[in-house]
């Protein structure tokens, strides 16, 4: 079990580093086991360092940087241990436009093996989906499903767009 843990940890760390560089366009990220503890008991520290910045503990990162780092770690886990489906509920809320596009590029690598259900208010994410499912409460307090296509979205919202870089 020690061997299995070490192998999985290394595979996860490698995937995390690669996906982080892809998501941030550089920099580096790694998982570090707590010093001086047995590898089967030690906690896990996350070190992330966006390009050009000094490596620091993830807590010092900004809201958007933390979200993108967590998503990268999630995808690293999906790479090491694929899951048949993945549900993400408004994970793009704190991302700016440039990072939403990067997040969507990351997903592309995984849709072959994993089915994604993504709840979002963000048009960039909606545009990228293979299928859109709408939920409405035309009757107050009662949820119903409606079919939505992208043209509906464009018409209903008018000019000002939701997000900027």
């Amino acid at each position: 079990s020690r061997r299995i843990f070490a192998e999985t940890f290394d595979a996860l760390n490698k995937a995390f580093g690669e996906l982080f560089r892809k998501a941030f366009g550089g920099g580096k990220a790694e998982l570090v086991l707590e010093e001086g503890k047995d590898i089967l008991m030690a906690g896990i520290e996350i070190i992330a360092c966006p390009p050009g910045k000094k490596p620091s503990h993830v807590r010092l990162l900004s809201g958007g940087e933390r979200t993108l780092t967590t998503l990268t770690l999630l995808f690293a886990v999906l790479r090491v241990r694929p899951s048949p489906f993945c549900v993400l509920d408004e994970v793009d809320a704190s991302l700016d436009e440039a990072n939403i596009r990067r997040f969507l590029v990351l997903i592309d690598d995984f849709t072959a093996k994993t089915q994604f259900l993504i709840i979002t208010h963000n048009k960039l994410t909606m545009v990228k989906a293979d299928r859109l499912v709408g939920i409405t409460m035309e009757e107050k307090g009662i949820s119903k499903m409606i079919d939505v296509n992208l043209r509906d979205l464009e018409a209903s919202d008018g000019p000002p767009e939701r997000r900027a870089a």
């Binding site: 996860l12 999630l74 241990r81 299928r131 949820s143």
Partner: protein, 165 residues
Amino acid sequence: MYLKRLTLHGFKSFADRTAFDFSGGMTSIVGPNGCGKSNVVDALKWILGNQSPKEMRGSEMKDVIFAGTTTRRALGFAEVALIFDNEDRRLPTDHAEVAVERRLFRSGESEYRLNGMKCRLKDIRDLFTDTGIGQESYSILEQGKIDLLIQSSPVERRVIFEEAA
């Protein structure tokens, strides 16, 4: 293996029977604040065997039963059904489709069915344990929880990691 059809009836704000057909790739669920998007995620967690009212954002499990609106009376039950496509036989049964159902009555009685046959919760959980489709799993990221992994302590992170390893 993927999620094919999720049906809610009397579950939270879904007073009327509502079915969601999903396909592979990326599906985006959209709609205004409060319309019932996260309730769909709760339904998914519930049908996979989640037993914690807090995970259902309530204080007791009965909170998942439609509580009524100003124009509709409360219902006496909540029911969710999920059909998996199991062509790839990832779920250890011989069926090409696997159907799971869960019902809760206001009296507190519960009912579970697997491919139409009454069963226990344990049977459903056993079915899912091996595939990584679990309760605490990394495959469902609830609203607002994205920051939890970063804010958690190294030892708590270890628990999340073990689950995925």
